[in-house]
């Protein structure tokens, strides 16, 4: 197992934890989706994999990368892991690069300063990487500044930098959300290509359930810091078992679909909402009184798990929730 998050709970001052008993796995060569609304804790999970925790966070559970616990390793090992084993791609490429340094500096910084490669070698490797992510005239790009490149090109640069150290795991945190649609498609295709070519494991974080089910092998749906459903992408899309997953699918418009748009009522919970039972119960159309006290735990469903009290009942009645 490349990445294995076990019972990850993270508290940082709010009335409820940011993450509660999160479990997820990423295998080599697999793309795993992580879907949820803003504030659900998606990015916090990705950051926790690199131990970039919020200030004053109390954390329990384990985050194993290649069998080593990221949360307890010493600083030197942690820097080595960040430098060479796990790379992250961020939502906004424009803010990911230091505006006063050249593209070449951004690409070679990690290779020279953390991996200790000679500067000339790092530079030619940087040019190769830019060519590999489909950028023309890489030598010229190396000398340019971030403000001279478009958002799509910058995201290619960020992807090239992520590949610089030959990582085994890529964390793509809303990697395409800030790009326009055509650039988004190109970037997704590029991510898929480099992932397949190098057999990388990828944690693909997005708020777009449709995109996740099209792009990923398996998808975890996150709500208020809890994984509510975790199944193969196709199953999840065709037959969502958790009411929240169904609700997410219901609020995306689709061509040729006669169903009216059904937004999920209510608002996503903030960190100050105390949620003793199922976190989704205040907004759930199927909620019963017991749901408000039922501590969510994964229940086995076809292909994976879902954390809903009503599922056994639903299975018996053969009706989708």
């Amino acid at each position: 197992m490349l990445l294995s998050v076990e019972d990850l709970t993270l508290e940082a001052g709010g009335r409820r934890p940011i993450l509660r008993d999160v479990a997820l796995q990423v295998r080599r060569g697999e793309i795993v989706g992580l879907v949820g609304e803003s504030g659900s804790g998606k990015s916090t999970i990705a950051r926790a994999v690199l131990r970039l925790l919020p200030q004053g966070a109390r954390v329990s559970g384990r985050v194993l990368v290649g069998g080593e616990d990221v949360l307890t390793m010493d600083d030197a090992r942690l820097r080595a892991l960040r430098a060479s084993d796990v790379s992250m791609i961020y939502q906004d490429p424009r803010s990911s690069l230091n505006p006063v340094r050249r593209i070449g500096d951004f690409l070679t910084e990690r290779m020279i300063l953390t991996l200790g490669r000679p500067a000339a070698e790092a530079r030619s490797r940087a040019a190769e990487l830019l060519a590999a992510v489909g950028m023309r005239d890489p030598e010229r790009r190396l000398r340019q500044y971030p403000h001279e490149l478009s958002g799509g090109m910058l995201q290619r640069v960020v992807i090239a930098a992520a590949l610089a150290a030959d990582p085994a795991l890529i964390l793509a945190d809303e990697a395409t959300s800030a790009l326009d649609v055509t650039t988004q498609a190109e970037t997704l295709a590029l991510l898929r290509t480099v992932q397949a070519e190098r057999g990388l494991g990828m944690l693909f974080i997005t708020h777009d359930l449709h995109l996740a089910s099209a792009f990923c092998d398996r998808v975890h749906v996150l709500y208020a810091g809890t994984v509510v459903e975790s199944r193969p992408a196709a199953d999840l899309f065709a037959d969502p078992r958790h009411p929240y997953t169904a609700g997410l699918l219901g609020c995306t418009p689709e061509l040729g679909d006669p169903r009216p748009l059904r937004p999920i009522p209510g608002r996503p919970p903030s960190l100050d909402d105390l949620l003793p039972g199922c976190p989704f119960s205040p907004r759930c159309p199927h909620a019963e009184a017991e749901c408000e006290t039922w501590a969510p735990r994964p229940v086995a469903v076809e292909g994976g798990v879902a954390a809903c009290r009503l599922i056994p009942v639903a299975v018996q009645e053969r009706s989708p929730v």
Binding site: R82, N98, P99, E148
Partner: protein, 311 residues
């Protein structure tokens, strides 16, 4: 590019022209009659003598004619003759300028090095170090220069005897005055450095650098401090430029014969040509320093180069 430089130069000339007019006008409008001083005492004040003096210094001409003559002479390198010393103003300035420039340069080195170091320290360490730096520099600023000067003289000059108490001419003579001058600036610069670094530290690209395994020390140097350089350099330039016009107190207290003490003497004796020349020199120096800082910005921030080529 050529157009931009031309526009910049035209702006500088216009600024200088406007300030020269204000300076000349202010001296003209100031109360008191220079003739009293020129005549050299009350006993000499016969009407004929006064008229002769007025004619000699063209004091009876209309304001615009006087201003025009002064400006034309100044442009030709003739700043006039001091009423008080009966010397060429240019020679007076040339004799006094090195002391003031040396003093300001010395103070600038001190406040840049100490101010930036304290600011970085406060931003990086945070917590108690941060509050100590803020409290200490606030205290240093709130002490008026003449008090600080007196304290420094009594401790390092009189009791310890490390530095000379007054007079100029050498590096050691300038040390205490430079420290006095730099004290207030250290607070400003350390505050600006700290604030800029704290802002930079919150930026996404710093987290990105951290996530790529870069050591914290390198992150501070290559990203946080590098990003904070723009405001820090600007502020250092402004403070340093302001010092050129603010050495009066320090020069007086330490008995340095620089531009500041020359100005005070000139104002007290209604020595118009010297007053005007010193004020104009201060304006020129201020404009020069701020222009240099502005020209340095594109070197610090490549984004400024784009705006420059578009302008």
């Amino acid at each position: 590019m050529a157009l931009r430089v031309a526009r910049k130069l035209a702006g500088l000339v216009a600024t200088l022209l406007a300030t020269s007019f204000i300076i000349f006008g202010a001296a003209y409008a100031a109360p008191g009659d220079p003739v009293t001083f020129l005549a050299g005492g009350k006993e000499n004040l016969t009407p004929e003598y006064l008229a002769a003096v007025r004619a000699q210094y063209h004091l009876d001409d209309p304001f615009s004619v006087q201003y025009g003559r002064w400006l034309w002479d100044a442009l030709n390198g003739d700043l006039g003759r001091s009423f008080q010393y009966n010397d060429e103003v240019l020679d007076l300035l040339a004799a006094r300028l090195p002391t003031t420039l040396g003093l300001v340069a010395y103070a600038t080195v001190l406040f840049v090095v100490i101010g930036v170091a304290l600011g970085v320290l406060a931003a990086v360490r945070g917590g108690r170090t941060d509050s100590t730096v803020v409290a200490g520099t606030t205290f240093a600023t709130s002490v008026p220069p003449f008090v600080a000067a007196t304290a420094l003289i009594s401790v390092f000059g009189v009791q310890l005897g490390w530095f000379p108490v007054a007079g100029g001419g050498s590096f050691t003579h300038l040390t205490l005055p430079a420290i006095t001058l730099a004290l207030g600036a250290v607070a400003i610069i350390s505050r600006v450095t700290r604030q800029a670094m704290v802002e930079q530290r919150e930026l996404d690209h710093v987290t990105v650098a951290r996530a790529s395994g870069l050591a914290e020390r390198l992150i501070v140097v290559r990203h946080v401090f590098r990003g904070a350089l723009g405001p820090v350099v600007t502020m250092c330039g402004l403070v340093s430029a302001g010092m050129l016009a603010g050495t009066v107190t320090v020069e007086t207290v330490f008995g340095l014969s620089g531009i500041g003490s020359l100005l005070v003497g000139a104002i007290n004796t209604h020595d118009f040509p010297v007053t005007q020349a010193v004020l104009l020199l201060m304006v020129v120096a201020y404009i020069t320093v701020t222009t240099l800082v502005e020209l340095a910005q594109p070197l610090i921030d490549p984004r400024a180069r784009i705006e420059r080529s578009r302008a």
